[in-house]
């Protein structure tokens, strides 16, 4: 019994971390309509920077600053934000399909840099030597995992509340206005370029936060953690959960990660030994089919975006999202 609880806590921690990332993407895509095809670069920037800033000194690469943990995590978020700012300046004026490909390329280049620049982040070996905060005091058993989960959960809820308030604020309205009709927003004297950049950076900072927590949880990060698969997984969570709806984003994260792990468990339990070679491929076909099926029959996701009317009764100058 304790085993089941221990596993569930572990599972929920990973799912919650991913849910934070999905929330970050939801701000970019769901609310602002920015197609970020390089989610993993910002997630990875957060993870790498957190471990480099907070870790113990390692021979051969940058790091070992041993910063106080919350500062290291903030540093991770800042690194993701900085990367997003640079990428945003270069690419946000592009059409959406150009943007998707350009950001996809950013992620490829990020992984490439981490894999090759040994002086920076250990190369293919990755970054280790990170002491999880308070591990000395709590040990690293079930109690630690439980408390870590509690912290992640609090951060998830805080992120959710922050985004809900942001979306309901005039700024949130502006985001949707730009998403729906950029020129109309511009004609009202708004500066879409600046606002899109703000949303892109904010979303990426949240992605970096998720990455920082992920790195903390495993006390390790390597180029294998920043492959395009993760971008795809996070997108799948958002699409299935419901783009534009923060609750949908969280729901999608738990659902997809649950399905991903449960299908692996079920295949190992029930699939005949001879069929095990194929379970990887089968799993990807299933995931692909779920995405395509969702877009064909319910493109708005399981929990669709709700029409937000933040100032009832005022002149509806800005067209609202449908």
């Amino acid at each position: 019994m304790i085993g089941v609880i221990s596993y569930l806590v572990f599972f929920a921690t990973t799912a919650s971390i991913l849910a934070i990332a999905v929330l970050g993407l939801n701000l970019q895509w769901g609310n602002t309509g920015l197609f970020n095809g390089g989610v993993v670069a910002f997630f990875g920037a957060g993870a790498y920077a957190t471990l480099i800033l907070g870790g113990t000194p390692q021979a051969g690469h940058l790091g070992g600053f041993e910063l106080f943990y919350p500062l290291a995590l903030l540093g991770g978020m800042a690194a993701a934000g900085l990367l997003a700012w640079i990428v945003g300046l270069l690419t946000l004026r592009l059409r959406h399909d150009y943007l998707a490909i350009a950001t996809f390329g950013v992620a490829v280049a990020f992984e490439n840099l981490m894999r090759n620049a040994e002086w920076l982040a250990g190369g293919a070996k990755g970054v280790r030597g990170f002491e999880r905060p308070l591990r000395e005091a709590l040990g690293d058993g079930f109690l630690y995992n439980l408390l870590f989960f509690a912290v992640v959960l609090v951060i998830l809820i805080a992120t959710y509340l922050f985004l809900e308030r942001l979306v309901a604020s005039p700024f949130g309205r502006l985001l949707r206005a730009i998403r729906e009709d950029e020129e109309a927003a511009q004609s009202l004297g708004k500066n879409p370029t600046k606002i899109r950049l703000t949303a892109f950076v904010t979303g990426s900072v949240i992605l970096g936060l998720a990455g920082g927590l992920y790195g903390t949880f495993y006390a390790f990060v390597s180029p294998q953690d920043v492959l395009p698969t993760l971008t795809f997984q996070i997108w799948a969570m958002l699409i299935v959960g419901g783009a534009g709806n923060n609750r949908g984003a969280i729901f999608g994260a738990f659902l997809i990660w649950g399905a991903w792990t449960a299908s692996g468990w079920a295949l190992s339990r029930f699939a005949p030994v001879e069929a095990q070679l194929y379970t990887g491929s089968v799993q990807f076909i299933l995931i692909g089919s779920v995405i395509v099926g969702m877009l064909m029959w319910r493109p708005q996701g399981l929990l669709p975006e709700k029409l937000v009317v933040s100032q009832r009764g005022k002149t509806p100058l800005v067209k609202q999202g449908v």
Binding site: T91, D97, A100, V108, R115, F284, I285, I291, L295, M296
Partner: protein, 304 residues
Amino acid sequence: MIQNLIDGVLTGSYISLGAIGLTLVMHILRFANFSHAELLSLGAYVALVFDALVSALVPVFAVKIAPLSLTWALSAAILISMVITAISALLIDRLVFKRVREKGQELSMVFASFGMALIIRNVIGLIFGLSPELYSKDIAFAMILSRDPLILVKPDQIFVLVAALVLMFLLHLVLSRTTFGYSLRAVAENPSLAQVNGVNLSRTIMAVWLIGGGLAAVAGVFYGLSHQLIPVMGRDLVLPIFAATIVGGIGSVYGAVLGGFIVGIAGNLALVILPSGYTPSVPFLLIIFVLMIRPNGLFGEARA
């Protein structure tokens, strides 16, 4: 240096073929089709099957066309594969993309194509296994064009380049001399106006998929001929093909051709400047570089 340049042109030939189809689809249907590169691997594997089939049925055809490693059987298989891949592309559109198009916005299409790419790639992996396959296990030796500096070219690659150029020329004739070519351009410019003027929209879309699929099949086989077939080859080719499309400018067939050669040459020349570990980033750096200077690519036009 000269060798890298020549290699780049040869690599560019199959990237160009892949990019032509993608640029048309992206132009007419207005979405970034991430599953286009999977049509290359579909075409390559279909040709593998028919190559084996034709060789078994008509053993005479299993003879190499000297000095190439291409057999008569494989040549026949390429034609069959073009037809099958073109029809598959059309079917995928009918079954999936068309429905998504009608239901959602154009951006849903991008993600649906992600999903389709995963499905196609893994179905191929299930059927053919994950290990590499080869059309011919014999190694075709390169010809020495010059000893100092050493310049080597494989006969297969010359064939691939010439065949690709011929196909591009044929396509050019179709686009510039036929009514179909005009209607294609009209649809791209303004779909509703074109329809008012009697252009059949759905037939144009159909033609785009057939052309894109057929050329993708050839590109896939040419790739397999120069290298090897693996189920994930679509994943490996997607970035170079997108880069070619974007560098050339979405919608421009000539841009795609030029873009393909630029990407090929850049990939081969990059090693002169960058350590070899960084090669996967080259197509991306190229995209960013070109878009900085020309936000719509070399031949692309801004559109509302």
